[in-house]
Amino acid sequence: MNRVLLLALGLFCAASELCAQSDPPDVPILSGALAFQGSTTAGATSFQPIIVPVLVAPFGDHWLVESRGEIEGFIARQDGTSGPYSGQFFASLDYLQLDYIANPHLTVTVGRFLTPFNIYNERFPLWVANLEDTPIIYTIGTRPSGSSNGGMVRGDAIARPGWIWNYTAYFSVLTTTENLQSGRSAGGRTGVFLPKAGLEVGVSYQRFLQNGDFNSSGAYLAWQPPQIPLDVRGEYAHSPGGQGYWLEGAYRLASSRSTTNWLSRLQAVARVQQYFKRQPTPEDALPSADVNQFDFGLNYYLPHEIRLNGSYGRQYSSAGNANIWNFEIVYRFLFPAWPGGR
């Protein structure tokens, strides 16, 4: 088995060397983020050091191998609010996929990929997300791990100067291997993007084909008015286990998107969420009661791809109200994964 892996690595290196001869060069890159998060929820404090490496290796103009892993620590007091701190570390593989970019209308993907339900799971890794906590409804349509093992097609079905209609469809098999979990499911997402207005709206659907087959559906909105440094994002999701929505606005303190000064590096964020419990379903990881929550946060974008984030949230639930304080520092890195300088 080790010999097979060595052979695969050798072939990968040989491919990279060959591809490095073209113009522009097919140099693999290592990207991702280092982060340190601190959180106090209802008086219980925890810390999370995280590293998220992303490896991208193009092979010519049509083939691409992409991978993202996550190594995360969780350090907290042994009994929540008192006792000594102890830590655990976890590792997971978010995606390892081979893409064939056939044309602007079709990309075929096989392997392990992020489940394309609504937009949060695919588009907002921790270095992009404006707030540290994932939305309450995040697991609807993405259970059990946020990733799927199988095949996917995606692309722009129709692209016109004034509007673009995109689509994604996939199937996934059941995998129970540790750190590689996925559910047996099929689904898709489609949306329309209006570039001049900076507006995208779309819908998602998933048929979960295990644990008594059930449907999840959703809708999303993303709006960035071109002349104002405002980002509005939101999702609605529905499943037999519950339904809810989140809506977030983030405003850069700048007169326009192109302004760059110290104040323009500051971003104010607000998010409101509502969740309504229905019948519990296996592995849904959803709250056991209705929840209303709002969050306010500030992001500061330092030079050298470093971002600071602090936020306060208040959660109202019949299971108990709670204050949620979060702090995060994220460093985004990017460099070639092959010798030869930058």
Partner: protein, 98 residues
């Protein structure tokens, strides 16, 4: 498991062979691009910036620095993630690595 490993290896070998066949064509395209007039390059860089703001800027800021060696992998990654068109990729490449 063995079947999966053999399949992955087969795909890698196939990719390598495709790349070897594609090299001369890629070089020819590069020669054509080198003959483009400077004004056109400037226009394309501006259009690339506009397309960056329109597509990539929806989620993140432009990178503070990115080298020509890195830019192709980044753009292909985003072509899949953000469903950029081939024309978007070409123009954004002009903007990020003129």
């Amino acid at each position: 498991m063995k079947g999966l490993v053999i399949t992955v290896l087969g795909i890698l070998v196939f990719v390598c062979s495709l790349k070897v066949l594609a090299l001369p064509q890629t070089s020819a395209q590069g020669t054509k691009a080198a003959k483009a007039v400077p004004e056109k390059k400037i226009d394309e860089a501006k259009e690339g910036e506009r397309r960056f703001q329109e597509n990539c800027g929806r989620c993140h800021n432009p990178p503070e620095s990115i080298s020509p060696r890195e830019v192709k992998a980044v753009l292909q990654h985003m072509r899949v993630r953000a469903m950029l068109s081939a024309e978007d990729e070409r123009l954004i490449l002009k903007y990020l690595a003129p």
